[in-house]
């Protein structure tokens, strides 16, 4: 089948599926909620980087000593920032999902958010002693371990609330003289009360069983979650994302599923790092952004450098245009301009470069050659800088350089074939 045939088939079959997947309202709300976390994960990431000072005993002198002393003096501040940013991710995700689901349904999100936060705190935070003079509760499950309960609570809250409000279930008719804002509050009493009853019943049942909702869920699924943090999963996901991109479809269509895995793993790593324990996960958001897709999807940064040196005028112009965006992990200009999309010559390198980056980086972290990531800074931070700050390991940028050389070597023969064709064309035009 020729490429046009494939393209037509794709419009017919692949695009509608991607549209459904990318616009399923729950998946979209989850994706938007994770996107909204950025200011919090960024601040948490900066704090994590700052707190990675050498210990006071091993610090050399001068700046490192001052840094170590500073971190030691303010350790509570750093730990608290960590606990309430990446360590409390699930709470913010819960709020975000309710907000976006309500926005989608055209329902004011304020009251359902209040209800959802109450439900979240009731079910995810575990009371230890609730005395007259002081109350102590365990908040550990507000990190990545609480993401699934957070999604459950937020979806049940938003969907039930919107459903009841739209069908005016439990609406109390008030005379016209009552101000509309007041009747809005009354209209939400019945849906709110029903949701509160659900949270309370679930809490009571869990409490009687001697557990909490997140503990129960996490114990049930944690074997399958840790099974997902492996080489095979990394390779399959990377391949899938790039097949999407080869057809010109943004991987956001998959983010509703990928976001919780990547950010959940990051959150657990951040919490482990703050506690001074070894980091449990490899496949995190910074792992993806800085180590797998170097220069954006398609790992085009190495290719962009090659293009800049091309004998073909078109390719050289494309390289100059695409190099800076690729440095900041934006690969769209090269994917659509070169193009890589639906270009049979580049099919193999486009699909294989990021997969190889992911596989090599995964193995390097698994055997402990390169540190694992625990801080997410920005999607637009160049890989080489992001790799360093997300791991605080000087070997990480070195790994990025090696991976870029490999990417370039993989792209090179295919790029040469393409260049030869274009140079021939350009010469033909000039004659």
């Amino acid at each position: 089948m020729n490429i046009q045939g494939i393209s037509q088939k794709m419009e017919q079959y692949v695009m509608p599926v991607a549209d459904k997947l990318g616009n399923e309202r729950h998946l979209r709300a989850i994706r938007d909620a994770f996107m909204s976390l950025l200011p919090l994960t960024f601040t948490g990431g900066i704090a994590a980087v700052l707190s990675s000072a050498p210990s006071v005993e091993t610090a050399g002198n001068g700046i490192t000593m001052a840094w170590a002393q500073f971190v030691a003096n303010y350790s509570t501040v750093f730990s608290w920032i960590n606990a309430l940013t990446l360590g409390a991710m699930s709470l913010y995700i819960c709020i975000g999902i309710i907000h976006f689901l309500c926005r989608d349904a055209n329902v004011e999100s304020f009251l359902p958010i209040l209800l959802g936060v109450c439900g979240f705190l009731m079910l995810v935070v575990e009371p230890q002693s609730l005395g007259w003079d002081g109350k102590i509760a365990e908040i550990s499950y507000m990190d990545g371990k609480g993401l699934i309960p957070a999604m459950l609570i937020s979806i049940v809250t938003a969907d039930l609330y919107c459903y009841m409000r739209k069908r005016e279930i439990g609406k109390i008719s008030l005379p016209d003289t009552v101000p509309p804002s007041l009747s809005d509050v009354f209209a939400s009493i019945a849906p709110g009360a029903l949701l509160m009853v659900i949270y309370i019943v679930v809490f009571a049942v869990m409490n009687a069983m001697g557990t909490t909702l997140p503990k129960l869920i996490y114990q049930a699924i944690s074997p399958s979650l840790s099974a997902m943090d492996n080489l095979g999963f990394t390779v399959i996901i990377t391949l899938l994302v790039h097949i999407f991109w080869f057809f010109g479809i943004h991987d956001a269509a998959l983010s509703g599923v990928l976001g919780p895995i990547r950010d959940g793993n990051l959150s657990l790593n951040a919490v482990a790092h703050a506690a001074g324990e070894s980091l449990p996960n490899i496949f995190t958001t910074p792992f993806w952004v800085y180590f797998v897709v170097i220069g954006g999807c398609g790992s085009v940064l190495a290719l962009a450098i090659l293009l800049c040196t091309s004998k073909s005028k078109q390719l050289k112009a494309m390289g100059r245009l695409g190099l800076i965006p690729a440095f900041f992990n934006i690969s769209e200009p090269i994917i659509f301009g070169l193009p890589l999309m639906l270009n049979p010559i580049f099919f193999v390198p486009f699909l294989s470069t990021s997969v190889i980056n992911g596989a090599l980086a995964f193995l390097a972290m698994q055997i402990g050659l390169v540190g694992r990531s625990y801080a997410m800074l920005s999607w637009q931070m160049p890989s080489i800088i992001g790799a360093f700050f997300s791991t605080m390991d000087w070997k990480a940028p070195l790994l990025i350089l090696i991976l870029m050389v490999i990417d370039g070597a993989i792209y090179f023969p295919f790029y040469k074939i393409y260049e030869r064709n274009l140079v021939k064309q350009e010469l033909g035009e000039e004659e």
Binding site: V14, M15, P16, A18, D19, G22, N23, R28, D32, M35, W245, G248, I249, H250, A252, A253, A317, M318, L321, P325, I330, E332, P333, I334, I335, F336, G337, L338, P339, M341, Q380
Partner: protein, 103 residues
């Protein structure tokens, strides 16, 4: 004043294109407002648009976008998008708005 809204996933890569399209519009000159927004905020940012153009990477969401707005919705030609060719994309937009390529 016409309003042209470009959509991509995060509003980032189309942002580059918008700058170039604005230059192309000034050259004519053609009075219009051009902006880039993420595809998820169509309803808030593009409800009053006269024309919505989708970046090729979000073209798969065309049907969903069409359901949310009343104006014309079209995809940007991928190669012009990749080359960030503001003039070509602006010409495409103008043709869609005015119906004829040169007037």
């Amino acid at each position: 004043m016409r309003k042209i809204v470009l959509l991509c996933n995060g509003g980032l890569s189309t942002g580059i294109l918008v700058r170039k399209m604005k230059k192309a519009a000034e050259k004519i000159p053609y009075g219009c407002e051009i902006l880039a927004v993420p595809v998820s905020s169509v309803r808030e940012a593009a409800w009053d648009a006269d024309l919505i153009l989708l970046g090729p990477q979000v073209l798969y969401q065309q049907e969903t976008v069409k359901r949310q707005v009343d104006c014309q919705v079209a995809g940007i030609e991928p190669k012009a998008y990749g080359k960030m060719d503001g003039e070509a994309v602006f010409a495409q937009a103008k043709k869609l708005l005015d119906g004829s390529p040169d007037d």
